[in-house]
């Protein structure tokens, strides 16, 4: 781990200032970083992937870890709320079940006890080339994505190129499915960013980042609006081993079904298959106005994966993800499937 200065602000204004006034470093990964639980930042630091000149600890800022609201008003989750807090929160479990499931699916109890929702959304990719200290890949300012032609079992099948990372966050797909947005404070004041506009594809520009946050910007709150879909939301995650692991593929789904059994609206967001949480608008549109049955689910699953372009070693992700889409929809739509 590269040596760094350590700051403990007590309010958000101070935190932003402390991020601005430190040496910014020559490389984007040397810029000062905020730290929440440190469960990702310390791992990237240990491999010299991030080498911040200063770490600004957010945990001393009071009130940033609250979870407020309910089904009617929507949720306001402080950026410092831990995954354990979210998973154990009664209101989240009852009214936003997919979010509780996603939080519980992350890593291990130890990591969930410290890892926060803000840090979860901002965590860095897990591609093993990226995580190898001695490899300077495209994401680290190098000239090549080694996964494009190398060991790409875990990489993207959708939205890839020129880098083929997948976004590792388990909370991002479900929060996107639930229309969440983040409140951000930075050097030029506050802004509100819909998650839909938060994550960035490598092809859209800045290869060194996975989202639109600028240096010095800190997420303070995650807002989940009330919605008729929230109560019927789920997050299904498929891992290579059942204990600690990232998603090979995951599906966040939410539906509103009328008393007549017809879908009024649907959301499907895929995780672990693209550099961003990947929304499937065609499948969503297809489901709207339909009564769910096994055939409809199968068709929606196909549509959700339309355009997938597997790399040499990850074609398995296509049928795997289709199966997860079907299962997730069956669960939220109360459809019996084989």
């Amino acid at each position: 781990m590269k040596a760094f200065e350590w700051s403990n602000p007590t309010n958000i204004t101070e935190a932003v200032k402390l991020l601005q006034t430190a040496a910014q470093g020559a490389d984007p990964d040397e810029a000062p970083r905020p730290m929440a639980g440190g469960q990702d930042l310390l791992t990237t630091n240990k491999h010299y992937i991030t080498r911040p000149t200063r770490i600004v600890n957010l945990k001393g800022i009071r009130g940033l870890d609250r979870i407020e609201g309910n089904a009617k008003r929507g949720l306001k989750i402080g950026a410092l709320a831990t995954l354990t807090q979210i998973e154990e929160n009664e209101e989240v479990r009852r009214s936003f079940p997919g979010l509780a499931e996603a939080a519980l699916s992350v890593a291990t109890p130890q990591i969930r006890n410290l890892g926060t929702i803000g840090g979860n959304l901002c965590q860095r990719p897990r591609c093993w080339y990226y995580r190898l200290e001695d490899v300077i890949c495209l994401k680290k300012g190098g000239s090549q994505c080694y996964a494009a032609t190398g060991e790409n079992k875990y990489n993207a099948i959708l939205g890839g190129g020129p880098s083929f990372i997948v976004h590792p966050s388990d909370l991002a797909p479900i929060l996107l499915a639930l229309n969440a947005s983040v409140a951000v404070t930075g050097p030029s004041g506050n802004r509100q960013i819909a998650l839909e506009k938060f994550f960035t594809l490598p092809s859209e520009g800045n290869l060194r980042r996975e989202n639109v946050l600028q240096n010095g910007e800190v997420i303070t709150e995650i807002q989940v609006p009330s919605s008729r879909m929230a109560a019927r939301s789920t997050y299904l995650k498929f891992k290579e081993r059942s204990s600690l692991d990232f998603a090979l593929s995951a599906v966040a789904a939410a539906v509103e079904v009328g008393t007549d059994g017809v879908v009024k609206q649907a959301r499907i967001v895929l995780g672990g298959v693209a550099p961003v949480p990947w929304r499937a608008p065609e499948a969503e549109a297809f489901l709207t106005g339909k009564k769910l049955d096994a055939n409809i689910l199968a068709e929606a699953a196909k549509l959700a994966l339309r355009g997938a372009q597997p790399l040499e070693k990850n074609a398995y992700k296509v049928p795997l993800t289709q199966t997860l889409v079907r299962r997730a929809l069956a669960k939220v739509g109360n459809v019996a499937t084989a």
């Binding site: 200065e5 700051s7 007590t10 040496a23 310390l42 890593a107 130890q110 204990s243």
Partner: protein, 235 residues
């Protein structure tokens, strides 16, 4: 054990100046005792900001006070020193219950309780643990006065090489406080962040359930006493 994972120290940092004290102020570290920042010694990029942040600690070595197993323990650490490293290598006598294995938050051997909750001490900075109680396996009980989980591990012979044991015992001890009467599945779920290369899982879970039922403690105590008595009468 030497700190194998800090072998990069030389590459990154100016020689530490152990005599130098840092300015420790602000909520996170109020307990550590404020001292005066010796700003003339700051490195170049620090000089630019020297006037401003009273709650900032420079990158060099500083003295911190940790609260390990209800004792105040002083350590000379850098901000980048992990709690695990600090306990094992920078307090005297060292606290070696928590083990260093992966140093990446993937094995659980370094599990400690921070504010009563299991966390990986390899993924906590010592400077970030300063005002919080840390409990290691040593703080849960002693060979003469084991807690129920420790006793059940003995009784059920729940280890092979034993390297993962402090982590499991710590995780399970905290979990049983939260859920005193768990099912096997719940125990397995609670232990998902602890790995055993020797594959002792069945015994580990058995010990956890025995400890929960209270059979572990009594059974193990009785058995231990029997062993001792037998050994003594043989002598």
């Amino acid at each position: 054990m030497a700190d194998e994972h800090d072998d990069k120290v030389a590459r990154d940092i100016a020689p530490p100046s152990p005599g130098r004290r840092q300015f420790l102020k602000g909520v996170g570290i109020a307990g550590a005792g404020a001292a005066v920042a010796d700003q003339l010694l700051l490195r170049p990029h620090e000089q630019a900001v020297a006037a401003e942040p009273p709650q900032t600690l420079s990158a060099a070595t500083t003295e911190v006070t940790l609260q390990i197993n209800n004792q105040k323990r002083k350590a000379m650490v850098e901000p980048r020193t992990t709690l695990l490293n600090a306990m094992r290598n920078h307090v005297e006598p060292p606290v070696t219950g928590p083990k260093l294995v992966c140093d990446q938050g993937t094995c659980g051997a370094c599990t400690v309780l921070l504010d009563g909750k299991p966390v990986y001490s390899c993924l906590v900075l010592a400077v970030d643990a300063m005002n919080k109680p840390v409990t290691t396996v040593e703080g849960l009980g002693t060979p003469d006065k084991m807690n129920a989980v420790q006793a059940a591990f003995v009784e059920k012979d729940a280890l092979m090489c034993g390297f993962c044991t402090p982590g499991f015992v710590t995780t399970i001890s905290a979990y049983l406080k939260k859920n005193p009467n768990p099912s096997l599945d719940e125990v397995r779920e609670a232990c998902k962040g602890n790995f055993c290369r020797c594959g002792t899982y069945p015994k580990v879970f058995e010990a956890a359930l025995a400890a929960a039922k209270g059979t572990g403690r009594n059974g193990a105590r009785a058995e231990l006493m029997n062993h001792r008595e037998a050994a003594e009468s043989e002598a």
